[in-house]
Amino acid sequence: MAELIVFWVFAPLAVASGIAMLLQRNAVYSALFLVVNFFALAVFFLMLGAEFLFAVQIIVYAGAIMVLFLFVIMLLGVDREERLVEPIRWQRPLGIFLGVGITAEIFAAVRAGVGFAAKAPGGFALVNQGGNAQAIAKVLFTDYFLPFEITSILLIVAAVAAMVLAHRRRGAVSGPPPAGPARPQPDREAEVAG
């Protein structure tokens, strides 16, 4: 019962903050709505018995990544408002239709596949017996040892990527003739999106 109440408090909150984040013109507000969304998600993880994910969600996402986002936004200028005018008129309604459509399709698949399960599957409790964090540690260092290690390669690539992009801009200014006047736009977007 308590679970249900918590769910119905946080579920609308998660959806609303998600939508608000999309509609917000100011990047800072947008980022703050995202924080709200992350928190709501963290609560779901907790409800589902995934304490470890709950903690990671708050520390890494709501903490580290959001701070990084905000830093970048601040560096680029808080006042800049995104132009939200859509040059091709039919694109937006079609986009909305497709978004809703794909969601509906996936919803239908989930609905038909697992129905409206009210409880976590039985095996979950068994796995979590010694504590959720311990259980995750166990699979991460045994079965999922390799993917865990591969992630480090991914991080190396990301680090080199950041280095190259940062270096690139300096090179483009002082280096040999670029093909045209340098437009900084793409790089900036890359950092925002990354």
Partner: protein, 623 residues
């Protein structure tokens, strides 16, 4: 000896490779090298065929397995060469006539800046042509088929500095491609139905297993390829334009060898055609129609090479006509004889052009006999052979086919074929009188070609005179008996008039045609130069081959324009007036599309989402 057959295509290939890479350095030697490998190939071919003749008739089919080409699952295709009477006939023609044309080219192409390249292409063409006729399965045949098309394209456009040559090359490639696509699908269909592409299995037991519908579909699809390659109506438009290529090319590719590949294909696949009741009649009708149509068109031409090109189409029409009656030996006899006299005619025409500074318009010739006696003699022999004057080669070949129509009870076909034979004699004696006799109608001096060109002419003339010995009677000739294991024997008909009567009619028609030609173009009593003014309708229709080209460009452009307009209108409603003008032509369709490839990431993501939605819908339907 029979196992050495691989040398026959390998030698020209080696020649092509050497000339391609070292052609510039070889200089003049390039032509000699090309001719030398051809001669060697011819000699080997002769030995191989001699070996084949030593075998008893029923064993005359030798397969030389070189290597496994593709072996994946049940799909097995080998690089297998088949030596049997049919392919033996073809390799002798290809290497024999090919050798003479190579020698002739040494003189004709002298001084061309891309001398080595020319011989490289020419040798490469011969290689692919030999692969085509020696192939033991349809895939290898298709390799040769595509290869000769490619070489033909390169050689038609050899003098690409002339825009007309480059355009002709493109036109040839595109037109034949339409037929080739049909053929490709036909081959795929053979594989679908029979699970093999091997001649031995497809044409042996396989053809009998096919249902009527499947056999018809396969036969007609293969025939589509033959129609394109052999320039039969309605895919004939490329051949007259192909005369933009150097004349030896016209002689070798567009008269003696490549264009006959379609006839070879029908003769080779006759089991498939016979498994269907409608395929052969269609071959017959297309052949006969082209024979008549092209003969009429040839009479309207003033360009000597274009006149010969229409004549080639007409002769090929006769070959298909024969094949359509099931008289494959007759088709092959005409193929062999035609290779000699048409190569002779083309090379003589080339000699004329060589000697007059590239003059091809017969209105500017006349009276060349005095300055170019050897060439005149050669052209006249070729023309008489084609006209069917006994005892030259064309007489036997054509007469057998026409007679066969009568004796097998096809009366209407016989009448039409006789008309065609009459027109052939008329159109081919016309250039003789126009170009070589009478008085010179243009300034300038003409000179006889060097021996390197006239000697091959003489040798070809011997063939044009004597090739008739291969088929002295309709079914009992040497070639017919030799080919029997490959194509079977055509039942000699018992109906209709006797052989002697038919021969008489035939000869009378040929002589009458020569007489008419002399009266109109040779006697000076008719002002034929003024015919186009006096009868503009007739001359226009004949000269443009009945406006088929104009019809095609209209047919291709009109729906293209309409479709483009339609797509554009749809666009306007959706993309908010981004499309304003309406272009023309088929390319329009593809021009419209990049409009939504606008470079906008958002549009890209939208297209992505459309796809995602659609994929999930398609999978959702499986629930």
């Amino acid at each position: 000896m029979l196992d050495l057959i691989w040398l026959v295509p390998a030698l020209p290939l080696a020649g092509a490779a050497i000339n391609l890479f070292f052609g510039k350095r070889l200089g003049k030697a390039a032509g000699a090298l090309a001719a030398a490998v051809m001669t060697a190939a011819f000699v080997i071919a002769v030995f191989v065929v001699a070996e084949l003749l030593k075998l008893p008739a029923e064993q005359r089919a030798h397969v030389r397995h070189l290597w496994e080409w593709i072996a994946s699952g049940s799909f097995r295709v080998g690089v297998d060469l088949l030596v049997d009477p049919l392919s033996a006939t073809m390799i002798l023609v290809v290497t024999g006539v090919g050798t003479l044309i190579h020698i002739y080219s040494i003189g004709y192409m002298d001084g061309d800046p891309r001398y080595g390249r020319f011989f490289s292409y020419l040798n490469l063409f011969v290689f692919f042509m030999l692969m085509l006729v020696l192939a033991q399965n349809y895939l290898l045949l298709y390799l040769g088929w595509e290869g000769v098309g490619l070489c033909s394209y390169l050689l038609i456009g050899f003098w690409y500095e002339r825009a007309s040559a480059a355009n002709a090359a493109k036109k040839a490639f595109i037109t034949t491609r339409i037929g080739d696509t049909g053929m490709m699908i036909g081959i795929a269909l053979i594989f679908v139905k029979l699970g093999t592409l091997d001649f031995g299995q497809v044409l042996g037991p396989g053809a009998g297993r096919l249902s009527e519908g499947a056999a018809t579909a396969i036969a007609l699809l293969l025939f589509a390829g033959a129609v394109g390659k052999s320039a039969q109506f309605p895919l004939h438009v490329w051949l007259p334009d192909a005369m933009e290529g150097p004349t030896p090319v016209s002689a070798l590719i567009h008269a003696a060898t490549m264009v006959t590949a379609g006839v070879y294909l029908v003769a080779r696949s006759h089991a498939l055609f016979e498994a269907s009741t409608v395929a052969l009649p269609i071959v017959l009708v297309v052949g006969l129609a082209t024979a008549l149509y092209a003969a009429l068109a040839s009479i309207g031409q003033f360009d000597i090479k274009r006149a010969l090109a229409y004549s080639t189409m007409s002769q090929l029409g006769f070959m298909f006509f024969a094949a359509g009656m099931g008289y494959y030996a007759g088709a092959m006899l005409l193929l062999v004889c035609h290779a000699f006299y048409k190569a002779l005619l083309f090379l003589s025409a080339g000699s004329v052009m060589h000697g007059t500074g590239d003059e091809a318009d017969m209105r500017n010739m006349g009276g060349l006999a005095r300055e170019m006696p050897a060439t005149t003699a050669a052209f006249t022999v070729g023309a008489l052979a084609l006209a069917g004057i006994p005892p030259l080669a064309g007489f036997f070949a054509k007469d057998h086919i026409v007679s066969f129509a009568a004796t097998s009870g096809r009366d209407l076909a016989w009448v039409l074929a006789s008309v065609g034979a009459f027109l052939s004699a008329l159109y081919i004696t016309r250039p003789v009188f126009m170009a070589f006799f009478g008085t010179r109608r243009a300034e300038g001096h003409a000179h006889e070609s060097p021996p390197v060109m006239t000697v091959p002419l003489a040798l070809l003339a011997v063939g044009a005179v004597g090739a008739g010995v291969l088929g002295l009677s309709v079914a009992g000739g040497f070639l017919a008996r030799f080919l029997e294991p490959s194509v079977g024997t055509a039942a000699e008909g018992a109906v209709g008039p006797s052989e002697a009567v038919l021969v008489g009619i035939s000869v009378a028609l040929a002589i009458l045609a020569v007489a008419v030609a002399w009266y109109v173009w040779g006697s000076g009593r008719v002002d034929w130069l003024g015919i186009p003014e006096r009868h503009p309708g007739l001359a226009g229709a004949l000269g443009t081959a009945f406006y088929i080209n104009a019809l095609y460009s209209w047919l291709v452009q009109f729906p293209g324009k309409g479709f483009g307009r339609l797509v554009a209108r749809g666009d306007e409603q959706v993309i908010d007036g981004m499309v304003n003008d309406v272009g023309a032509g088929v390319e329009r369709l593809s021009r419209v599309a990049p409009r939504w490839e606008t470079g906008r990431v958002r549009s890209y993501a939208l297209s992505f989402a459309v796809g995602a939605f659609a994929v999930l819908v398609v999978l959702g339907l499986r629930l």
